[in-house]
């Protein structure tokens, strides 16, 4: 009891210290926030009414973002199957799965936008660097999920098939896969949803999709058009979330 009281006291002190440090060393001028109130209102005012004439750009931009997310997810799945097997305790020895897991953690640690910028530099503008960036970035998480799906299966049915004389591939197909398939389906759908959300902004760095229009309209002060694109993005995210939620419930 006493130890817990001490722990929460320490946590409170650390938290207060962190806030004070941030306030003291950052140039947060509350006066500026107050004085720029009218300007913020002005910017918001210029977003209304949203300009509906950009429908064509919205549709083509959204379609491209969707294509980037689909192909990026496909690429991540193709990379995650072998890497997931290598990162699994069940299928690989420690000398293999430990370094592979470290590699996946490193991949996860690199922000998508950074990968996209590097890829734009490497392969040029357009959706291709976006697809490569999404596939690379998503693999860090998806391969880890796949390895956990493999490690989460019950061992007894595998032993039973081994006892019956089934080889390693047949054991994978009939004892391991049926157990992990629903988990893999759920994880893949979840990662697709994340890929779609994250690829919305890829256009800002020139890696294709609807983000390109957001950047163009904001930079050229066409806030009414930017507002239309923003609404389209929100609608798309909400729709895909509802759709994926319904899909995920089927794999339980």
């Amino acid at each position: 009891m006493r130890a817990r009281g001490f722990a929460s006291f320490t946590a409170a002190v650390l938290f207060a210290g962190a806030v004070l440090w941030s306030l003291a060393t950052t140039d947060v001028e509350l006066r500026r926030l107050v004085s720029s109130g009218p300007r913020i209102a002005d910017f918001l005012g210029r977003m209304f009414p949203p300009d509906p004439t950009v429908m064509e750009e919205i549709v083509s931009g959204s379609a491209e973002t969707l294509r980037i997310a689909i192909l990026g997810t496909l690429g991540a799945v193709l990379l995650s199957v072998p890497l997931g097997l290598l990162a699994s305790e069940t299928m690989s020895p420690p000398a293999v799965y430990r370094p592979v897991r470290i590699l996946l953690a490193l991949i996860r640690a690199i922000p998508l936008i950074l990968v996209a910028m590097l890829m734009v530099g490497a392969v040029g503008l357009g959706p291709l660097p976006g697809i490569i960036a999404v596939a690379f970035h998503a693999t860090g998480m998806l391969a880890k999920f796949y390895s956990e799906a493999i490690d989460g299966v019950a061992r007894a049915p595998i032993a039973a098939l081994e006892s019956a004389g089934a080889g390693p591939l047949a054991r994978l197909r009939y004892a391991i896969w049926p157990q992990m398939a629903p988990v893999v389906a759920r994880d893949t759908i979840f990662r697709f949803e994340l890929n779609l959300r994250e690829s919305l902004i890829l256009g800002v760095v020139g890696a294709g999709g609807i983000g390109f229009y957001i950047q163009t309209y904001v930079r050229s002060f066409q806030y009414d058009k930017a507002a239309s694109v923003t609404i389209a993005v929100v609608v798309m995210v909400v729709a895909i979330e509802a759709f994926n939620g319904a899909l995920r419930r089927r794999f339980s």
Binding site: A156, A160, S163, A164, G165, A166, R173, Y174, P178
Partner: protein
């Protein structure tokens, strides 16, 4: 006639354990016999059955199963593994697959690796699987998913899978310990009758003396990793069986097992 299984002076300890799971065990099992392994928890029954199934590694001694000697460091060939069928205590079925698929899994060792992987059973595989289902009284359940079945039904599926292997030696690890007495007797009846029809040798473990006496022609008593007795059922007294459970030292082990 060669023995279904011949064990000479086998010892084995689980890695990290202080005591041996098997100590200088020697046993000979004639073809076609029904043998009960009897004894308290921790006596080494499961370890002995796992050894006979070729799934134990790093033991010492000599073992030959159906005329082929086992290598302590390598798993037996697929055909040899298919010749010995194993009925698991906790069924070890693939819960999300249907009953027929689970029983066909018992045929995987009888197919070429390519056919096994793509899972296209031959006419004969289907026929053997369906006969096994019928013998276990669950022909009507073949399309049901295993996770929708009761414990008794699952154990029948597990036995059907074992029979689908067409094993010459059937090993059953406490096959009825999770069933009520009536179901337990039913399941052991169908297991022993199916084995009799197929000319297979059966070794089942149990700590229920009445079931061991009723179904086995011979009872091997085990205690602390050793064979305490090995007698035809008719020559074995109930007192000798009860004696395996004599000291109170066994009690904590049993209660721990229940708690976990």
């Amino acid at each position: 006639m060669t023995a279904a299984a011949q064990i000479d002076d086998v010892s084995f300890a689980h890695s990290g354990a202080d005591t041996s799971a098997l100590e200088h065990v020697s046993l000979s099992l004639p073809v076609g016999e029904i043998v009960a392994l009897f004894g308290p928890s921790g006596a080494g029954k499961t370890t002995l059955l796992t050894l006979l199934d070729g799934r134990l590694r790093h033991w010492c001694g000599r073992v030959s199963i159906l005329g082929a000697s086992l290598d302590p460091d390598h798993p037996p060939l697929r055909a040899c593994r298919a010749d010995t069928g194993f009925v698991f205590q906790e069924f070890a079925l693939v819960e999300r697959s249907n009953v027929l698929r689970n029983v066909l899994n018992g045929r995987l060792g009888r197919m070429s690796p390519i056919r096994a992987f793509f899972g296209t059973p031959r006419e004969r595989d289907l026929q053997v699987a369906k006969t096994a289902l019928a013998d276990c009284g669950i022909a009507d359940l073949e399309d049901r998913r295993v996770d929708s079945l009761s414990g008794g039904q699952r154990q029948r599926v597990s036995i059907a899978r074992c029979l689908a292997q067409e094993p010459r030696l059937i090993l059953a690890d406490e096959p009825v310990s999770s069933l009520d007495p009536t179901r337990a007797a039913e399941v052991l009846t169908l297991l022993t009758e199916a084995a009799l029809v197929r000319g297979a040798t059966v070794v089942f473990s149990s700590h229920q003396p009445d079931l061991a006496r009723r179904f086995a022609q011979r009872i091997v008593g085990m205690r602390d990793g050793r064979v305490a007795f090995d007698l035809p059922t008719s020559e074995l007294s109930e007192a000798a069986m009860a004696d395996l459970y004599r000291d109170a030292a066994q009690m904590p082990a049993i209660s721990l097992r229940v708690a976990s």
